[in-house]
């Protein structure tokens, strides 16, 4: 498993930290937290491409909590050159992470698909948009994601 701690442990405390609660099953609110994450990053002048990538990761992760978990917490930590999203949910966990990371693999119900989600692109898309991505999951307990995105990277 890749670690993202190298950048975090040596350095100064984050410039900004925000924590958000995400309620599982509340389909109407899916994405509200990610909208806030995006606004916070925009307001402190983070680069637009990085803001977009963080917002995409945040949104995918938030939707996963809403669709699958009871609740979750999303923490945004902003440093000078990068930002970290730490997402932890109380949910069913993922049995086979390798399978879940495959594009198109989905366990979504028809109701989830009606929302426009559940195409099996969530986790692969988070990986694609992050510079360092760590996923830990325990069936029956929950899933934890750590996503690091650098402020200056070529657009993907």
């Amino acid at each position: 498993m890749r670690q993202i701690n190298n950048e975090e442990k040596n350095l100064k405390p984050p410039l900004l930290e925000r924590e958000f609660e995400v309620e599982g099953g509340n389909f109407a609110n899916a994405g509200v937290v990610s909208g806030k994450v995006k606004e916070v990053l925009k307001s402190i002048g983070f680069g637009p491409e990085a803001v977009r990538r963080i917002a995409i990761c945040s949104y995918e992760a938030e939707v996963n909590i809403v669709l699958y978990a009871r609740r979750g917490v999303m923490k945004l930590s902003v440093y000078e050159d990068y930002a970290v999203l730490h997402i932890k949910d109380e949910g069913p966990g993922i049995e086979d992470i390798e399978l879940a990371m495959q594009e198109g693999y989905s366990t979504a119900t028809p109701e989830m698909r009606e929302l426009g989600f559940g195409a099996g692109m969530g986790l692969p898309n988070i990986k694609k948009n992050s510079d360092i991505f760590t996923i830990i999951s325990e069936p029956g307990k929950g899933t934890e994601l750590r996503i690091l995105i650098r402020n200056a990277r070529e657009p993907i």
């Binding site: 977009r52 995409i56 929302l115 426009g116 099996g120 898309n125």
Partner: protein, 127 residues
């Protein structure tokens, strides 16, 4: 690079403007059509126009997250109330056309608007 003003898109699709009447001079470079917000999140490029049949608030939330410039709802669909509210707040114009997805996309393509995939190919070719 070819740009198309939203006003021109509105005219081609004979669309009704639901939000952002004052934003019709925005320029659109490329478009995509999808009812799946998962796909929009995975493949859309910033500044794109999205044609969709999905009318819930997630259509606008997704647009805001990936910097979509405007949304066209097809088959005469009307976005839900909270979607309109959010679009106004975020400055994302919403249009509705009675054309079906294939016809709406076809008309815009014929008029010169390109797809996201083609723009990517062009960028790759120029590298």
């Amino acid at each position: 690079m070819q740009f198309m003003k939203l006003e021109e898109i509105r005219r081609i699709l004979n669309a009704e403007v639901i939000a952002g009447k004052d934003l019709m001079d925005k320029e659109i470079e490329y478009a995509c059509g999808s009812d799946l917000m998962s796909d929009v999140l995975a493949f859309a490029k910033p500044g794109a126009l999205v044609l969709t049949g999905l009318t819930n608030v997630q259509s606008v939330r997704t647009a805001y997250i990936v910097d979509i410039k405007a949304i066209v709802y097809v088959r005469g669909k009307q976005p839900e109330e909270d979607a309109i509210k959010l679009a106004i707040e975020k400055g994302i114009p919403l249009l509705s056309t009675s054309l079906r997805m294939f016809e709406a996309c076809g008309k815009l393509y014929k008029a010169g608007l390109r797809g996201i995939g083609e723009v990517e190919e062009k960028v790759a070719a120029n590298k």
